[in-house]
Amino acid sequence: MRNLLNFLAKYNNLLIFIILEGFAVFLLASGNNYHNTRFIKGIRGLTRGIEERMSNMRAYFNLRDVNQSLVAENTALKNTIERLARQEEILFFSVDDTVNNQQYIFSDAKVTDNTVNRQKNFFILNRGTRQGLAKDMAVVTGSSVAGIIVGCSDNFSIAMSLLNIDFRLSARIRSNGYFGSLSWNGRDISRAVLSEIPQHVTFGIGDTIETTGYSAVFPEGIIIGTISGFEKTGGDFFKIDVSLLTDFRKLSYVKVIGNLKKAEQLELEKLIQ
């Protein structure tokens, strides 16, 4: 017993170190499960005040850019209205039940916390299950891809940013329709890599990369970025460098897209598995 006490007295620092380090690693392993929203709810309560103030400040500095993108979007929408209105004059068409045919539902949200300087980046939205958001909904900003919601609390959601080394997205080249898998390489926040494009495909620098809609998360045709370079890899595939359209440092107002027919689509896909 005396020997044990002597031992403890001699190595007490090492002991405290091991205990604290073990506790910290336990926290690391259990607390970083981002899908566990209950944990986030607890912690966010503490830091929400400061974060909201910071994000309000950032939103103010971004107003000019936000305005510009809104103007651009307005113009595009006006053009669409104009085109549709013209159509109405010259064409007969039957009115469908629009609610039944609606596939995607849109909702707006504001980013209250965002990181870009980690390998696994996430951002927080100020809408949650009470506002109709759910896991696996798509997040877009303006007209380009931003991320996927991975968890919701009552009034907040956490989304995995495209700038996350675990993020995978089915994407295609708009000009020829060949599709591959898009992921972030962890290096540059304005670049991602599109792989699995066969080497016989022709494309040019500056071609648009968009979503395919195969995953039932993102609707078809949402822009991701443009091709900025490519190299050949082993196995007859191209590795294409994609310059991202979204500026993740300025993420503030985003749209959340839910797929109303996702359950149906997944149900059907199950049949062939």
């Binding site: 170190f17 604290l20 690391l28």
Partner: protein, 168 residues
């Protein structure tokens, strides 16, 4: 005693705020993320008992973790830094040892000593931190590069802050 506790509390708050509000938002090409809050562990008095140092390290790390949403990551790295600090102090002790009641500051032991001291602890802390962040050994070289570049920036900022402190 009370005076020095107040002083360290002030340093602590300033460093934490700098880290959360300013340095957490720095982003150069994904390689450089300075973590200057580790400077607080550097500045604590030499004769502070190791177990207090360990608990302070844990607290500092946890506070940074809470604000950056990375539970346990900074805490583990900072505890490691707090644990190795006494050994490093012993390793690079000046010829006539440390005077009692003196803090490990650049003003007292000189630039070269402080650079070595800060450099060793920052590199140890950053190595632990960045490898815990990616939690894998693939891309080893790239993580190592991030460690070295970030350490370089952290040390630069710590030296700058130390010069400002010295000026007072």
């Amino acid at each position: 005693m009370i005076n020095s506790i107040a002083r360290f509390t002030l340093i602590f708050i300033v460093l934490i705020l700098l880290q959360i509000l300013l340095f957490n938002n720095i982003q150069f090409s994904g390689y450089v993320n300075p973590y200057i809050y580790i400077m607080f562990i550097l500045l604590l008095p030499v004769e502070m008992p190791s177990w207090i140092l360990l608990f302070i390290s844990f607290g500092t790390g946890i506070i940074i973790d809470i604000f950056s949403g990375t539970m346990g990551m900074h805490a583990s790295a900072t505890i490691l830094a707090g644990f190795v600090r006494p050994y490093i102090l012993k390793l690079i002790s000046p010829r006539d040892g440390y005077e009692p009641g003196v803090n490990p500051a650049m003003l007292i032991y000189g630039f070269r000593w402080f650079l070595l001291y800060a450099g060793l602890i920052v590199v140890i802390h950053h190595t632990a931190l960045f490898f815990l962040e990616v939690f894998r050994f693939t891309d080893f070289i790239r993580t190592l590069l991030r460690v070295l570049l970030s350490s370089l920036f952290t040390i630069t900022f710590i030296l700058l802050l130390e010069f400002i402190r010295k000026g007072k």
